[in-house]
């Protein structure tokens, strides 16, 4: 069994969290809590952390993903307004706003820090020099445009605040970590196809079929094909069912199949990385959830993936509890997020505590 990417987590000044500390993380982590406690924010913070070698592009991905109107961010005022929501307290963006910091607890050397600063330009000996705004120095419109100041793995980088600026942090040794985020409403069709292409004809296909069989036990094969009714270049998932001669579209088997396909494909593609699932239970009937958790534990162990999922559904927690109890060795945690008098608080339930809670009728949500 490989090491976990994160054994603990500390988030500062990011969206709902002024400070959130999670003292322990497992291979598979289910995050629960009432509305507005920051369940999805936690997944976003994990995305930033996992994709720190492709900053600042991944920041814009997160900023725009939440904007249903898909506003185009062009002028600095709009850009700064959009970024307000990324920082805790939605305060107006100005110099010396506290940076977003994401890291394991007490591990400054592994910290990802994102700040915005206004460099000051000065002419010195005939050439132009810039330096970040120092405490006490006031920003004026004559100064340069604000920039991201990003600190990761001990290095400091500065980037323009420009969503179309796609240059990434360049480090010859840096390798992008696998990190797949499944939104509450599922992956897009083209993402699913891309994930399928990532594992097609490998022995991971069997894991995907095993997942699909949780809902439709007769599934024998899966493929993605074009058809005259689709646009050129488009493909759809088709399945072969035992004792049925013709393959037929997977979409005919319902939302649950789509959800399971998305989750299992994402997991199979996340080797040595992270899988993030928002509102795990969406589309899934209670009766398949415990088996799906079993499968997730199994594949996550095999491929060394760390899984984080959110839920506010009691059935989903119960299924997770059941899967954990049936496999006492599972390294899983239920993490409850709460807001107590403005402070974010996390409460952990390991296998033992989940078992006691179920037996003694203790409310974990």
């Amino acid at each position: 069994m490989g090491n976990l990417i994160l054994n603990t987590l500390e988030i500062r000044n990011f969206r709902a969290f002024e400070l959130l500390r999670i003292e322990q993380l497992g291979r598979v982590n289910l995050i629960t809590g009432k509305n507005n406690v920051g369940k999805t924010c936690l997944l976003e913070a994990l995305q930033l952390y996992a994709r720190k070698s492709s900053l600042p592009a991944s920041i814009w991905k997160i900023v725009t993903a939440r904007d249903k109107a898909k506003r185009r961010l062009v002028n600095t005022g709009d850009i700064l307004a959009a970024l307000r929501y990324l920082f805790h307290g939605r305060q107006e963006m100005r110099a010396h706003v506290k940076p977003i910091q994401i890291s394991p607890i007490d591990s400054p050397e592994e910290m990802l820090s994102i700040a915005i600063d206004w460099p000051i330009a000065k002419t010195k000996n005939g050439s132009l020099h810039t330096h970040p705004l120092l405490p006490g120095e006031e920003y004026t419109t004559e100064h340069h445009l604000p920039r991201f100041i990003i600190q990761t793995e001990g290095s400091l980088f500065s980037y323009p605040l420009n969503p179309s600026f796609s240059q990434q942090i360049f480090r010859p040794s840096a390798k992008e970590m696998n990190c797949i985020f499944i939104p509450a409403n599922g992956l897009r069709e083209e993402q699913i196809i891309e994930l399928w292409d990532g594992i097609a004809l490998t022995n991971l296909e069997q894991e995907i079929l095993a997942a699909l069989r949780l809902i439709a036990p007769g599934v024998e094969g899966l493929n993605f094909v074009g058809s005259p009714t689709l646009d050129p270049g488009e493909r759809e998932a088709i399945v072969k069912i035992a004792n049925v001669n013709e393959p037929f579209p997977l979409s005919n088997l319902g939302d649950g199949m789509q959800r399971i396909l998305g989750i299992s494909l994402a997991l199979a593609n996340a080797k040595d990385g992270m899988l993030l699932i928002d509102e795990f239970e969406n589309g899934l009937h209670y009766s398949v959830q415990a088996d799906l958790w079993h499968l997730i534990f199994h594949i996550a162990n095999r491929l060394n993936v760390q899984v984080f999922a959110t839920t506010h559904n009691w059935n989903c927690i119960e299924a997770f509890q059941k899967a954990m109890q049936e496999a006492p060795q599972s390294n899983g945690f239920l993490i409850r997020l709460e807001n107590k008098k403005g402070n974010s608080v996390s409460t952990l339930f390991d296998n033992r505590k989940l078992g006691i809670a179920a037996r003694e009728r203790i409310e974990v949500r």
């Binding site: 969406n282 559904n313 009691w314 107590k340 409460t347 809670a357 003694e360 409310e363 974990v364």
Partner: protein, 220 residues
């Protein structure tokens, strides 16, 4: 999204953890006698071991407002206190070195209020039966007789452990009442015991303070 499964009341719940059925029924009877408003639920944990083993999880129940713990002091009151104290400290509480004689109550910022009562009276070793024996009317003529009888049972014939002596005496005494074999809670309701005795009042006062019953009932 399953609305039914996701909506739930946000009203905090108070619990009183007890170690067995007898404790549960003695409490029900006393609450009835003292007309204590039901602003908490009694949770029978089955054994003192289960109370202790599950305490850390009871404390992180998301609906928990206040938590009372009633367990027997048994032979070694200091050891029992230390085991509870250790668990509460690990759950983030500051806990006094020794139990308070009127029942311990710990209020800590950001955490559920916790109260501890060690049967019989936070001072003596013993169990629920010792507490109930304090409620036997002082003029009762059978009680000295029951005690004396049990002391006369010679060791060879005694089938119970030394620690159950009080239990044996109490149930012997109960066997000689109007309806022999009445369980403790019902015996209290039937007034074989004096629910007005100072020991019972002390316990009820602790409950009032722990669950803040006065202000809980003042609310509309």
């Amino acid at each position: 999204m399953n609305e039914e499964a996701t909506t739930r009341s946000s009203v905090l719940q108070n619990y009183l953890l007890v170690e067995g059925k007898d404790d549960e029924h003695v409490f029900y009877s006393l609450l009835e006698y003292y007309q204590v408003p039901r602003c908490f639920k009694i949770k029978n944990k089955g054994s003192v071991e289960n109370v202790l083993d599950t305490l850390d999880v009871e404390l992180i129940d998301s609906d928990l407002g206040r938590l009372g713990i009633v367990v027997d002091a048994d032979f070694d009151i200091a050891a029992r206190w230390q085991s509870i104290r250790g668990k509460l400290i690990r759950s983030g509480y500051k806990v006094p070195e020794a139990p308070e004689t009127n029942g311990t109550i710990i209020q800590q910022e950001g955490q559920p209020v916790v109260g501890i009562w060690l049967m019989p009276d936070n001072t003596l070793p013993g169990m629920l039966e010792h507490f109930v024996s304090f409620l036997i009317p002082s003029e009762d003529s059978l009680w000295p007789f029951a005690q004396d009888t049990l002391h006369k049972v010679i060791e060879k014939d005694r089938r119970f452990q030394e620690s159950y002596l009080m239990k044996a005496m109490l149930h012997t005494w109960l066997a000689w009442q109007e309806r022999p074999g009445t369980p403790l809670g019902l015996a209290l309701t039937n007034r074989y015991f004096d629910a007005h005795a100072p020991y019972a009042q002390k316990l009820i006062n602790w409950l009032h303070r722990l669950f803040d019953i006065e202000s809980a009932t003042e609310r509309p």
